[in-house]
């Protein structure tokens, strides 16, 4: 291989310019190809379809919940309260680190077995380390007469469903 230094007029020899262009093209395609491959792989890690339970689901008929009762719906990880004023649903997933809280009948509240958080029955924090209240989910009566909980929608502490 011989070099092609600029000639007396300062012009770069055509062969050298051609080689530089080919080298840039080669390097560029290599980088672009590798970046594209990596980007495709990285994107594929984010799932498009989740095979998870629906976020809105029926939990039973109002008659299934005795008056003045607290029912743990285990497979949905939430509590359904039937009070004098109506129904409401509270998440059973501790807002601290995700364990299931237990309902304590005597304490009129919830206790988390993992890190000792405690909550009132309306979800408010009684004792840390949890910083946020247990969310209360929207609950509605379907046309088929079932209580339907929507975990995508949270509601305020005054929410009650008359049913």
């Amino acid at each position: 291989m011989t070099d092609h230094p600029p000639d007396a007029s300062g012009e770069v020899a055509p062969a050298a310019r051609r080689r530089a262009v080919v080298a840039w093209l080669g390097t560029g395609s290599l980088v672009a190809g590798a970046a594209g491959l990596l980007a495709a792989m990285a994107r594929s890690v984010v799932p498009e379809v989740l095979y998870e339970p629906a976020r809105r689901f029926p939990v039973g008929r109002p008659a299934d919940f005795p008056p003045a009762s607290v029912t743990f719906v285990a497979e949905r990880r939430l509590f359904v309260f039937n009070t004098q004023d109506g129904f409401y649903a509270v998440s059973a997933v501790c807002t601290h680190l995700g364990c299931n809280v237990n309902h304590e009948e005597g304490e009129k509240g919830f206790a988390c077995p993992c890190h000792g958080s405690a909550f009132f029955e309306d979800g408010r924090v009684r004792k840390g380390p949890a910083a946020w209240p247990l969310p209360r989910f929207a609950i509605a009566l379907s046309r088929r007469g079932e209580l339907v909980v929507d975990t995508r929608r949270t509601v305020g502490p005054e929410f009650r469903l008359k049913a």
């Binding site: 799932p47 989740l50 998870e52 680190l97 077995p113 000792g116 380390p129």
Partner: protein, 382 residues
């Protein structure tokens, strides 16, 4: 007779095709031994006498490496029976316990070696600190070591989910919730790690791939870098005034390494024979055990998380890792290198010892002094 000689010559020729040099006897052969073997050539041909003292290194780095090798071997055997699916995973654990020849022994061995590796890696870091061995020119290798320790913890954590029992399920629930508390990208990283919002099939498969492929490969690559840098940074650390007398690595170094190997394997095997790895009831998302405890090496973290998820799960661990990484670039004074608890390093050693003791203390509290609802209990009162 002539036939016997011919067979002997053939055997010798076959042997020589594998091992080009014979058993090293003379000094030149001993020097040559390190250079003519793929396995041994990671060693120097000669080593300073000072670094051979068992009381200097305690063989901890080497013990970590041998534990990793042992874990790779038993892990491969376990992989032949383990099925990473929520329905099949727990059954394959039961198969390993009852229906596979030496299945229980292999699982025990894998479990205790993993626990041992976490402990030994931690002790190795303590050794390197207390002998000042992280100082320049070894500052980068210290950082590699910090990453190796994090990889060790990540391997333990991902391995924990695989049995799909109650301990596994709730330990990962707590662990991934801690991840979600990290500012900015926390929830997204949790989503990627679990492959969704819940711990299910996608999460199990992702943890399996990380545990069996991604993390061990990263570990192997960084272990190679760690060893290579030991050589390139001038061998093991030693005081400036140390004796420069050297002996051949064969047999002095190799023999000591074999002793560590035998000690490690013997300890793991005896533990695997005496103690069975626990397996709780099959994972149940509707029933949180009370108390729900992470593996012991994360119980310190769980104890800290009890005081606040952000403080214990994010601030303290991040601060510790950052401090470890920055340390060798800040503390560069060459005094006190190569000596245990050097007088000149009293302050640094005291700080490190205090932090290490605090970590052990919260781990002990989390392990023995926490009962239902994470309330304080005394272990001897039933």
């Amino acid at each position: 007779m002539r036939r016997g000689a011919a067979i002997g010559a053939t055997v010798r020729r076959l042997y020589r095709s594998v091992f080009r040099t014979g058993w090293p006897r003379t000094k030149p052969q001993r020097l040559q031994a390190m250079l003519s073997s793929l396995v041994l050539h990671v060693h120097p041909t000669r080593v300073r006498v000072g670094v051979l003292r068992p009381s200097y290194t305690l063989g901890l780095g080497l013990a970590s490496f041998f534990l990793f090798v042992s874990l790779t071997a038993t892990g491969l055997a376990l992989m032949l029976y383990y099925v990473p699916h929520p329905v099949a995973a727990y059954r394959s654990m039961k198969d390993l316990e009852h229906a596979v020849a030496f299945g229980m022994f292999l699982r025990n061995s894998h479990r205790w070696a993993a626990h041992g590796m976490v402990a030994v890696v931690f002790l190795h870091m303590c050794r390197v600190f207390f002998t000042g061995a992280y100082k320049p020119p070894r500052e980068f290798n210290w950082v590699v070591g910090v990453v190796l320790m994090l990889l060790t913890l990540a391997l333990s954590f991902t391995g924990y989910l695989l049995p799909w029992d109650q301990l596994a399920y709730w330990a990962i629930t707590v662990g991934t919730a801690i991840v979600a508390h990290f500012p900015v990208l926390g929830p997204q990283v949790r989503y990627l790690l679990l492959g969704g919002n819940e711990i299910g099939q996608a999460a199990l498969l992702r943890f399996y791939v990380l545990h069996c492929l991604v993390l061990p490969l990263a570990m192997a690559a960084l272990v190679a870098l760690h060893f290579w840098r030991v050589r390139k940074d001038g061998g093991l650390s030693a005081p400036a005034h140390a004796s420069q007398r050297r002996v051949t690595a064969w047999p002095h170094l190799v023999l000591r390494e074999l002793v560590v190997l035998v000690a490690v394997l013997a300890t793991v095997n005896v533990a695997a024979l005496l103690f069975d790895a626990p397996l709780e009831a099959v994972a149940d998302a509707t029933r949180t055990p009370n108390p729900a405890k992470a593996p012991w090496y994360f119980l310190g973290l769980q104890e800290l998380v009890h005081y606040g998820a952000i403080l214990g799960g994010v601030v303290v661990p991040t601060a510790l890792v950052v401090a470890l990484v920055v340390l060798p670039y800040v503390d560069t004074h060459p005094r006190g290198v190569g000596v245990w608890f050097a007088r000149e390093r009293r302050a640094a050693n005291a700080v490190f010892a205090a932090v290490a003791h605090a970590l052990v203390a919260v781990t002990v509290i989390g392990t023995f002094f926490r009962g239902p609802n994470w309330a304080f209990v005394v272990p001897w009162a039933r």
